[in-house]
Amino acid sequence: MTESISIEDAYRKWSRDLLGYATALVGPSDAADLVAEAFSSVLRRGTDHWSAVDEPRRYLFRSVLNVARQNERGSSRRRRRETHWSMPPLQQELIADPEVVRALSALSVQQRAVTFLTYWEDLSPASVAEALHISEGSVKRHLARARNTLREVL
């Protein structure tokens, strides 16, 4: 345990950061729900679990990604028009730049996560790997694929 903070304080302190991240993962319409669900999950696990968490901020970033990925798994099995991250009208209004919409739609959720943490949170591949509990090689692969895709789209 390197940092002691209550769940509520963590929400107040980091929810804005997590919302930006969640927006990159699923778009603005579902971002607030995504973050709230991640915290709900933490609450359901109990304070003992939370107090044992090292690096709670990174843990929360990972939790948000897990919820997003779970959503993706669920989504992927629904109807095509509901599964594709197709930016419904509300989201298009919230993200004015169509290039942003096009770029994000071209990336997988994992690629969005790695890209956001790298370019916005300024984390190194090793730190992203640590935050997401994946290998550094996987981070580099995701990032390389994301950059290749974005190079074509942007």
Binding site: Q70, R80, L94, D97
Partner: protein, 402 residues
């Protein structure tokens, strides 16, 4: 060039960050009421995860595919049920339509099935050798073909549908201040709803007297893992008429850090899957020998006799799994011998054993790596050898082949 791209990506992330909405009020998060009002539908969709994979969150990815892809799968909770015969006929033939003789869009018990869909179902059945086929059209209609008869099954638009070849199931999540609950519905292939219970139905049986009993997991009753090594997900046999509930042996367990364990029995063979937070699993047989070698894979399906497994990653693993994302492998479940592997040019969307053939479901390349969104064709192989047999073009998303 790279610097310019990096700057643009950074700018892109900044625009996204600026578009982030305001957070929910903490009190709403704490009480769970953030899902109420206008957010309830979206959150319900978010919470469909466990139902979608027929497991809790990342609870062993193999289960979902197993349940939707296996013919006469048996689980170790069968004791409260009558013996499996796999041939229960509870359909109403008078409400269905025979595919080969239809010349116009016929009306079934629950609506019309387009002739093009009927033709596509027939093509798939012929190309794969399947006698029972459940699929979903690009418009979301669930259709079934059984022994040449086509039916339509009405279900909610926003639910994951799976099938065991006799019934079609879907589960919806409900969230309130008390937490999350699941409600499952089961219907026959001709659309008659025969069971609706709390929890996630993973098996349904019809008794000799015509009544139904559902084997149902209740994630909401599992509690917190806490310091325990693992906790069982409560499993019940529920009478669909009286809703009388009898605890039965669990088939899955939760562990800390989103890890899990689940037991699947196929034709008397027992396979235990140890899943991680990424949705991948290591699966071992009765002798604790891995049936997926050193490959760490997200989804497993078994042949009807349990002697052969096929597995791969569905392309959604955040650990990358580059060796399996587009690669499907098959092994002998007793010796662990690698029987064959197939490398695709895109992530695949599904895999099924149908008798002596093995079927892979491939999406259009433009939707990969979101492979579930659509189907472009089925690749049919000889199951024992992996020899390619034929390609079957279809836009239908496969729910069950048997």
């Amino acid at each position: 060039m790279a610097d310019r791209l990096d700057r643009r990506i950074r700018q892109l992330m900044g625009e996204l960050n600026a578009a982030a909405p305001v957070p929910h009020d903490w009190d709403d998060v704490r009480s769970g009421s953030f899902a109420e009002s206008d957010h309830v539908d979206r959150r319900s969709r978010l919470l469909l995860v466990a139902a979608a994979v027929v497991a809790v969150g990342t609870l062993v990815a193999g289960i979902a595919v197993t349940l939707r892809g296996q013919d006469r799968i048996r689980t170790n909770d069968e004791s409260p049920f009558e013996p499996v015969d796999g041939t229960t006929d509870i359909g109403a033939d008078s409400t269905t339509t025979t595919a080969p003789t239809s010349t116009t869009a016929p009306t079934t018990a629950n609506g019309a099935v387009a002739q093009s869909v009927i033709d596509s179902l027939r093509t798939i059945a012929t190309g794969t050798g399947s006698s029972v086929l459940v699929a979903q059209t690009p418009d979301g209609q669930v259709v079934a073909l059984r022994d040449g008869t086509v039916t339509s099954v009405d279900g909610p638009a926003d639910a994951f549908v799976h099938s065991d070849g006799t019934f079609v199931f879907w589960t919806l999540a409900q969230s309130d201040s008390e937490g999350i609950t699941w409600r499952s519905t089961a219907a026959t292939l001709d659309g008659n709803r025969v069971c609706e219970v709390e929890g996630r139905i993973h098996r349904l049986r019809q008794r000799d007297d015509g009544t139904f009993v559902a084997s149902t997991e209740r994630d909401d009753l599992a509690g917190d893992v806490g310091a325990a090594a693992e906790i069982p997900v409560p499993n019940f046999a529920i009478d669909c008429d009286t809703l009388d509930s009898t605890p039965i042996e669990p088939i899955s367990w939760l562990a800390s850090d989103s890890q899990s364990r689940a037991v699947t029995t196929v034709n008397g063979r027992t396979f235990t899957a140890y899943g991680d937070a990424e949705g991948n699993a290591r699966v071992v047989n009765e002798q604790a020998m891995s049936v997926n070698g050193d490959d760490y894979a997200g989804s497993h399906v078994y042949s009807a006799d349990g002697s052969q497994v096929a597995y791969g990653d569905y392309g959604v693993s955040s650990n990358g799994s580059p060796l399996t994302t587009e690669t499907m492998r098959s092994r002998d479940t007793t010796t662990g011998e690698l029987l064959w592997s197939v490398e695709f040019d895109r992530p695949f969307a599904g895999m099924y054993f149908v008798g002596d053939v093995f079927v892979a479901e491939l999406p259009p390349t433009e939707v990969a790596p979101e492979p579930y969104m659509a189907t472009e064709y089925l690749a049919v192989y000889d199951a024992p050898t992996g020899e390619f047999l034929r390609r079957v073009d279809t836009e239908l998303r496969i729910i069950y082949l048997g």
